[in-house]
Amino acid sequence: MKIIELIDVQKIYKTQYYEVHALRGISFDVEKGDFLIIMGPSGSGKSTLLHLIGCLDKPSAGKVLINGVETSKLSDFELTNLRRDNIGFIFQQYNLVSTLTALENVELPMLFKGTPKNLRQKRAKELLELVGLEKEIDRRPNELSGGQQQRVAIARALANSPSVLLCDEPTGNLDSKTGEQIMKIIRDLNEEKGVTVVLVTHDVNLKKFGDTVIHLRDGKIQEVEHVH
């Protein structure tokens, strides 16, 4: 089943002085349970692509379909619900809410969904346990290491049991050993829980974790590589 479908997607950023053609006709599908890696140098359009898949932005031309629904036809309200219920985000800078504890950060997507407090807390604890942070649940982000913060971010991304996990350079700010641990958690989620993963990176060492690798350069697909 196609969970993500891109048809000739273009993205042009218009600023006052110039236009940037960030994506120039991208088409590919992602099947349920896939682990897709989008690889390319800085500025090649990886983040732009991920934002389009994640319903944070709309394409200038072409179509993005999530579960068969075209995102550009949805309202802000519907897109927000789609993100909340079907998509989990993991960012390079972790992006935790600094005033909230690890537990509360993981609770957030469930709070937005209206999940009652006791269920929310129970699930958040389970998820933090899953990423190995059962002892750190009451710490604020600034009391956690980078690797720990990224684990909290993973737990948060999983809160509403999304079908897709979108990761933008998740290991970019981490040392290689910690990065490896984070990648293993993401791979296990893919393999054991069947979560579909789309991960963008410029780090060729991460290639081994994916099923498929799409090489991106200057907003175009250069090569599609099937690893497994």
Partner: protein
């Protein structure tokens, strides 16, 4: 949990939040304390008039050519149901001599019974037999009169039987600077007719009926008498106090306005500082309305805390102003005080929420992708 989120955002910028709260509580305190004081002042002033509230004052109407109230009209008034007493007043300005001083004084002719009912003696005892008189406090002070002093009114010697207590402002008669004599003595020294009838009602509720009866029985053909309800005059004064109070509170409310602007300012700063965080929340599923809710909750918390402190202090402030100006703080302890405390509380909270609306709306309008990219 939204309250938790809002609370922690406020804690993040502690000094700023504290300043916003201070602004609100000063505003609420100013509005509340002035409201409480204004009400106290009104009560304090109105107390002076309490015993005239059930009076109707009747004058002859000079526009119809009447310069005095006729005896038969007085008797008609006395017979109206609900009338407790009708006090016919004759008054004149007559020459008064005491020792070597000679002045013109107001002289009222009064019945001893009525006089006792209306005023209290400060010294001596009220007695208006032939040859005796009663004087007002200020006149007595002015002429250094004592009980037993002999004054000469238009050539007739009268003995001072009593000096009245100082009465405040009145609308009917003011004896402070006057001499009160018996009807008989008055007739001997002055030809003045009845210039005013003070009609006292059995109860306040009878007043409109009595007024109506006078109009029907005496003023049917032409407007012979002018009939004035004291209650109406008192009502006018009370309204004037209400307006002054409102005006003073409006001035105090300017400080609330300033507090509102400062909340607007700090919340706008906060939206800019938290752009990225707003983007993150939107990315993981917060609706625009959720962002709106968080910001408004923050404003409401500032308003609630500020207003609660402010209204508690407004009671203290009201008591202090009452003590300083009216020398009696107990005026602050009346039911209307509760109203001003609740008013301060609600005005404070609404000011804060209203000031938070624009920043909250701005925050909710941020595009998630732009906000997320913000550094």
């Amino acid at each position: 949990m939204y309250i938790d989120i809002a609370r922690r955002n406020l804690e993040r910028a502690k000094i700023r939040s504290v300043l916003a709260v201070v602004g609100i509580f000063i505003g609420v305190m100013a509005v509340g304390a002035i409201g409480i004081f204004g009400e106290s002042l009104k009560v304090a002033v109105m107390q002076n008039f309490e015993d005239v509230a059930n009076e109707i004052v009747v004058y002859p109407n000079p526009q119809q050519g009447y310069s005095y109230v006729e005896d038969r009209d007085i008797r008609t008034i006395e017979k109206i149901p609900g009338v407790k007493s009708a006090i016919a007043l004759r008054s004149d300005a007559l020459s008064l001599e005491f020792k070597n001083k000679k002045i013109i004084a107001t002289v009222y002719a009064m019945d001893e019974k009525n006089l006792k009912e209306m005023f209290e003696a400060d010294k001596g005892s009220i007695k208006l037999s032939s040859g005796s008189c009663v004087v007002g406090k200020r006149l007595a002070d002015f002429l250094s009169l004592k009980i037993g002093s002999k004054i000469t009114l238009e050539g007739r010697e009268l003995k001072v039987a009593a000096i009245l207590k100082d009465v405040g402002a009145r609308f009917d008669i003011n004896p402070n600077f006057a001499v009160l004599v018996s009807e008989d003595d008055f007739k001997k020294i002055s030809g003045s007719e009845v210039s005013m009838v003070i009609v006292k009602a059995e109860s306040l509720e009878d007043v409109p009926e009595i007024k109506k009866a006078i109009e029907e029985r005496i003023n049917k053909k032409e407007e012979k008498l002018i009939v004035v309800e004291m209650k109406m005059i008192l009502q006018t004064i009370e309204n004037a106090f209400g307006q002054i109070n409102l005006f003073l509170m409006a001035i105090a409310a300017i400080s609330l306005l300033v507090a509102g602007v400062s909340i607007l300012n700090i919340m706008l700063m906060s939206t800019i500082e938290r752009t990225k965080e707003i983007g993150v929340m939107r990315a993981i599923g917060a609706q625009r309305s959720t962002i709106l809710k968080i910001f408004i909750t923050e404003a409401a918390i500032l308003g609630l805390i500020g207003s609660m402190i402010g209204s508690a202090l407004s009671l203290v402030g009201g008591i202090l102003i009452d003590y300083a100006i009216l020398q009696d703080w107990s005026y602050a302890l009346q039911p209307s005080t509760v109203f001003y405390i609740i008013l301060g509380l609600s005005v404070g909270i609404s000011t804060a929420i209203f000031s938070g609306l624009y920043p909250a709306w701005k925050a909710s309008k941020l595009e998630p992708i732009e906000a997320l990219r913000y550094e």
